[in-house]
Amino acid sequence: MTGVLVSTTINGDAVQFACPTDETLLDSLRNRVGLTGAKEGCGTGDCGACSVTLDGRLVCACLVLGVEANGREIGTVEGLVEDGKLHPLQEKFIEHAALQCGICTPGFLVAAKTLLEKNPKPSEEQIRYALAGNLCRCTGYDKIVRAVQAAAKEMRKK
């Protein structure tokens, strides 16, 4: 397998790594860059646990090749914390107990963040539709929707 030097920006930081051409971005992030926030739930685009942004667009990192990150900007759940302070979405997920085992949580947070950037005041239906690609086996989704609504409200105050 040929390795390719990938120069990319992750959560605002310049990062370089040598990447085999048959590796997914999810594996590169976890195993080469050491960012293990994005999880592998399915590896086939169905569960959203691997959600990251690629040049600002929400994608499944399991369906992106690591080499495609070259010259692009990646955003992961690790980028949500600013100056040591949790993002309002993270705070509201804790407050509303919107997680149990937590494996789906990084994906939900990244997906919800991109939703709120585009639509600061989504309806419940819009939230459920936007998060339809994120599966959760524990919470029953309701608490997640409430947490996103509460975070949206909090963020609109600022």
Binding site: T2, T44, G45, C60, L63, A111, L131, G133
Partner: protein, 290 residues
């Protein structure tokens, strides 16, 4: 996965050259939402990937008096946000909007949906309904093929090795002409069509249907253009009786299979229902455009 070589050409010419330059199996990649999954499940055979997303013209579109000229690799998230396109081709936009999740739409392209040539691909009936054409390019030059002739079987299309889809072309609909796409899935989102229907109708100022195209998906080996269903609509006011006739013609044209998501009988029935409903939506849109 056995991707042994990754290439990101900057031009179509470069991409075409890469397609014929090797003994190793070579595939072009758009969003990779089909290709990467397929290569994960066929781990052994070495694969060269030619990523088309660094070619500007594959990612762009233009819309003018001549109609829509779409770079086939533009992702659905970008495509479904094009308001000028949505005004003229609402059915194609709604088909693209049905593909997968927000995440999948961030990568999946209409060209990839077409070239993957699944019988259940949502954009294929929608493209057939609006008379879309594929501009194919290869070492031997260019050719243009109607979408209904492009797909030739389950996962098969008329492109030869060394060719790629360069452009999707759709004429500009006249006032009074609009499209719609509907599919049936057992869930509310994130599922593959059990049946689908793409319709376009053209109405004159009296409300008479002067032209129509009816395409059905997921009920045969390929999406089908059903001329008998369109014939049932043309010359009518798209009244209930004519629409019911078109629905029956579509059900008769279907040759579905039974699988865990639907039986032959169910698919045959539901495709008629979808044709009826999509025709009424297209009719309303056509009236509003006059």
């Amino acid at each position: 996965m056995a991707v042994v070589d990754y290439n990101a050409p900057q031009s179509v010419q470069e991409a075409v050259a890469l397609l014929s330059g090797s003994d190793i199996k070579t595939k072009v990649m758009a969003g990779g939402t089909d290709l990467i999954i397929q290569s994960k499940s066929q781990a052994v055979e070495p694969l060269r990937v030619v990523d088309l997303k660094h070619i500007a013209e594959m990612m762009s579109y233009s819309l003018d008096d001549g109609g829509l000229s779409l770079g086939p690799c533009m992702c659905c998230a970008e495509f479904t946000a094009l308001h000028d396109v949505e005004t003229l081709y609402p059915g194609l936009v709604e088909a693209a909007y049905l593909i997968g999740s927000t995440q999948v739409q961030g990568r999946a392209s209409i060209g990839g949906n077409l070239c993957n040539s699944s019988p259940a691909a949502d954009t294929i009936p929608a493209l057939i309904a609006i008379g879309a054409k594929c501009r194919i390019v290869g070492a031997g030059g260019e050719r243009t093929v109607a979408v209904e002739d492009f797909v030739t079987g389950v996962g098969r299309n008329c492109m030869q090795s060394g060719e790629l889809l360069q452009r999707i072309l759709v004429a500009r609909p006249a006032p009074g002409s609009r499209d719609a796409y509907l599919r049936f899935i057992p869930r509310t989102e994130m599922d593959i069509a059990v049946a689908g229907a793409g319709i376009s109708v053209t109405l004159d100022s009296q409300g008479v249907c002067t032209a129509a195209r009816v395409a059905i998906g997921a009920v045969a080996q390929t999406a089908l253009l059903v001329a008998s269903a369109a014939d049932a609509l043309i010359g009518t006011q798209l009244d209930d009786a004519s629409v019911a006739k078109a629905a029956a013609a579509a059900s008769a044209a279907a040759s579905p299979i039974t699988d865990r998501r639907g039986t032959i009988e169910f698919r045959r029935h539901i495709v008629g229902v979808l044709v009826k409903r999509a025709t009424l939506i297209a009719k309303e849109r056509a009236q509003a455009s006059l």
